[in-house]
Symmetry: C2
Subunit: 204 residues, 2 copies
Amino acid sequence: MIFSSKKLESAVDALSSLPGVGRKTALRLALHLEKDDLGLVERLGKSLIELKTLTKRCAKCHNLSDEDVCNICLQAHRRQDLICVVESIRDVMAIEETGQFNGLYHVLGGRISPLEGVGPEDLSIELLQQRVATGKVNEIIMAISPSIEGETTIYYISKTLEDYQLDISIIARGISFGGELEYADELTLSRSIESRIPYQSKNS
Amino acid sequence: MIFSSKKLESAVDALSSLPGVGRKTALRLALHLEKDDLGLVERLGKSLIELKTLTKRCAKCHNLSDEDVCNICLQAHRRQDLICVVESIRDVMAIEETGQFNGLYHVLGGRISPLEGVGPEDLSIELLQQRVATGKVNEIIMAISPSIEGETTIYYISKTLEDYQLDISIIARGISFGGELEYADELTLSRSIESRIPYQSKNS
């Protein structure tokens, strides 16, 4: 691209560093923002800096939170003995959207993937073990996208937790192998939680 | 969407105000930026604020510029008597990309569209007339996307300039009707400039 303005070039460079944003899209966004007089640039800047500096991980479930403990963990009406283990914040949002789950969550922050250099120590598995060790958890639902890495993660976590009195289930394989959980429609996702399959029982 | 963080919600709101960015994409971008530790948020913020506050319109051609006169208008080797009239900054970039045009540009800032409330006074047509009035311009190429609004704009400008000794041509209709100039491939665009069609002659 040939730029008449170095400032425009810098903005396009920065915008095209975003995932899924190519140079043409970045140019379109930059020129939109340059023209904008509704303060969108200021609002974007402020909200992104606040997002980066003022948020933290929930001390209980590792979800993104404005406070030490997230507003899902703080809801007393939720079943405290049921934990749904997910890969990401987006998965929590997708399941909350269904309105069908009334337990707590645990956000791993990814899945075990030797190819991508993600090991168990990169995920919040130790924090999950600590939650289970309190003895207050009866059941864990593994709501992890079906894939090789997902299976590995489920297997690793179930091994880590095998000494505890605990039912572990996985969400029904209504989601096609290789599919991404966050793109499933609400009905499929909601049903796959309802018809979860026993995986490891505390009575075995 | 159900958010565990108000800061995340604000960031998604701001990002989804961008053209072509839906809520799901905005969420993906926000979570990417939240995790990022390479200073992308700071780089984005700085470059966008500089883009908005430190750029101006070139006093000659109305292109986006860091200085009073843009670096295209400053190139002495360009033909000073030939002006290519385009709708947008992106069109200048697309034509520069072809490397086939060695005249100057004039950026209108849009096209006349009564439906969208864009009249001739919203475009830099008066500035174009002032350039022509200096007597230094011999030829104008209208590189405006073929469409009803484009034809209207060409007609209006040619009427405005009819008292001057001037050749006016339009780029060859190699670009399909309704198509956007900036998405044309370089060859088509370069050829359409080469085989421009006389529209109004100073000798008529």
